[in-house]
């Protein structure tokens, strides 16, 4: 019922340092710290001078301060902590506005976080060969209701009630990079009230 094999579903890969870049911008959230620290370690070996041109924007899990200390200890150019994704994205947008060609982007965190970062990167015409992303953390999805155009956040179930129009939506694998959301399509349009069993699938 999930409709699999959809080509637009993003594919992620473990982060790797791209030392051909001149500037490195890292964005992460929660458990995304580990992959970013791994890239920083790779860079220290391959091209240590890149570290001074490296910036980290990070949203730590509530109460966790250890990661920020680890980034700072790694001697990267600039480390900033944010209380939440919106504040990080605002700063990210400002940085991209001043960035030069030669910048590489590394993103590590849950897919919905990656999607929101990618959406902004796309506005600045960053291409696939300038961005690397590793998915880690929750698989919860942002779901775009194709009927009322509202996005429902943090969806963990196969079907979900739209936040705005309250239609029951089937969460598809069909993904929009522009909207940073999966498409949700009314699930009981043909047989009103007939819903498949609700299951937690995006944990």
């Amino acid at each position: 019922m999930l409709v699999t094999g959809i080509k637009s579903k993003p594919v992620y890969a473990p982060l790797q340092a791209d030392t051909r870049g001149r500037y490195h911008l890292m964005l992460g959230m929660g458990v995304g710290a580990a992959p970013l620290l791994r890239v920083i370690a790779e860079m220290r070996v391959a091209a240590a001078q890149s570290l001074k041109n490296t910036r980290v924007l990070f949203v730590p899990d509530a109460g966790a301060a250890g990661e920020i200390a680890q980034f700072k200890a790694a001697a990267v150019g600039d480390v900033r902590a944010f209380a939440g994704t919106p504040a990080l994205l605002e700063q990210f947008r400002a940085i991209l506005g001043e960035s030069l060609m030669g910048t590489r982007l590394y993103v590590a965190g849950p897919e919905n976080f990656i999607g929101l970062v990618m959406k902004i990167a796309l506005e600045f015409n960053l291409n696939k060969d300038e961005i690397r992303a590793e998915e880690c953390g929750t698989l919860a999805r942002r779901v775009y209701c194709i009927h009322c155009r509202t996005t429902t956040e943090n969806v963990r179930t196969n079907i979900v009630r739209c936040d705005d129009c309250e239609r029951w939506l089937l969460v598809r694998d069909h993904y929009s990079r522009r909207l940073a959301a999966y498409m949700g399509v009314m699930v009981d349009a043909e047989a009103p009230g007939e819903l498949p069993p609700l299951k937690e699938v995006f944990l």
């Binding site: 960035s99 030069l100 030669g102 060969d129």
Partner: protein, 320 residues
């Protein structure tokens, strides 16, 4: 592409714009409008020479909005295989030529945040069409144009008039060179660079951009290679079941065409990959001169671009 799809045109304007470059205007013999094109497109001009047919690619340098004539710029090549000499010496006002429909292998990136255009000599021609698209686009751009000296600066008046401060001129005869490193190291994110000019310049721009951290997807270039001369060789066409002799100064594609076998092509300059042909048997080596096949594909020796590539072999069988 086949001859049936060409358009008959008449030469309605010729201007010697530099000691080496002539500017031609071509109008359709049947009247009416020529096919629509986008900036950066080229056409193949088919010339009936005394001994052979020449087919050369030339960039369209007029406005894509103006379709009553096409404009091309032709540089007289020192080591011409005949095409550019034919255009310079034989073609007069009123001459008839055949042209193929425009093809664009050098289009602008539609969502770029800025364009940096880099031209060397006759390499200015594809940009003249692109600039027409850029004028109204609202996207920032700059043009860096390098020539030997002012007398060799083709279309300079037109560029000065229309581009103003966006035009940066460099006369290398006076020791002025495009500062590639500074230029490419200081561009805002989302910039695309385009280069057309001598092979050495293209190579240098690509290498400099890469060293400045540019990803390949933001670097664009166009270079039509003239088919190089080489040793004569024989080729057997498996499907046509004929043997074809390729003389030293004729390309493999031209020789196959002269034997009456049609090969699909678009650029005839080793760029587009359209004439990609399978090699069925080979005793010897392929001399690849295209910009299309990867190193891995070349190593396999299973395909060839007959528009510019040749072979040094005892036997070559192609899937044609």
């Amino acid at each position: 592409l086949s001859e049936a799809q060409t358009i008959a045109v008449e030469v309605v304007g010729i201007e010697q714009v530099t000691p080496l470059i002539k500017h031609f205007k071509l109008a359709p013999v049947d009247g009416g409008a020529l096919p629509v094109f986008s900036g950066g497109s080229h056409i193949i001009v088919v010339m009936q020479g005394a001994e052979r047919v020449h087919r050369n690619p030339y960039s369209l340098l007029g406005s894509p909005q103006q379709l009553d004539t096409y404009e091309i710029g032709v540089r007289r090549m020192e080591e011409s295989r005949g095409g550019s000499h034919f255009m310079h010496d034989t073609v007069k006002l009123g001459s008839r030529l055949e042209i193929a429909h425009p093809v664009n292998l050098f289009g602008l990136d539609k969502i770029a945040r800025k364009h940096v255009l880099i031209a060397g000599g006759i390499g200015i021609t594809p940009f003249l069409g692109q600039l027409e698209d850029l004028h109204d686009g609202g996207v920032p751009y700059e043009l860096h144009y390098s020539v030997r000296s002012s007398e060799h600066a083709a279309f300079l008046d037109r560029l000065r008039r229309r581009e103003g401060e966006r035009l940066h001129m460099y006369y290398d005869g006076e020791g002025q060179f495009i500062p590639f490193e500074t230029l490419l190291a200081t561009q805002p994110l989302g910039t695309h660079a385009y280069v057309c000019g001598p092979a050495g310049m293209i190579k240098h721009v690509i290498a400099t951009a890469q060293s400045c951290g540019w990803p390949d997807s933001h670097i664009h270039w166009e270079q039509f290679s003239a088919p190089p001369v080489g040793d004569a060789f024989e080729v057997f066409l498996a499907r046509a079941k004929i043997s074809v002799h390729v003389p030293p100064d004729q390309s493999l594609l031209e020789s196959i065409e002269a034997a009456g076998v049609e090969v699909p092509y678009l650029c005839r300059g080793g760029v587009c990959g359209f004439c990609h042909t399978r090699v069925l048997e080979l005793d010897g080596e392929l001399l690849h001169n295209d910009h299309f096949l990867s190193e891995a594909e070349r190593a396999k020796a299973k395909s060839i671009m007959p528009c510019v590539s040749r072979a040094h072999c005892k036997r070559l069988v192609l899937d044609l």
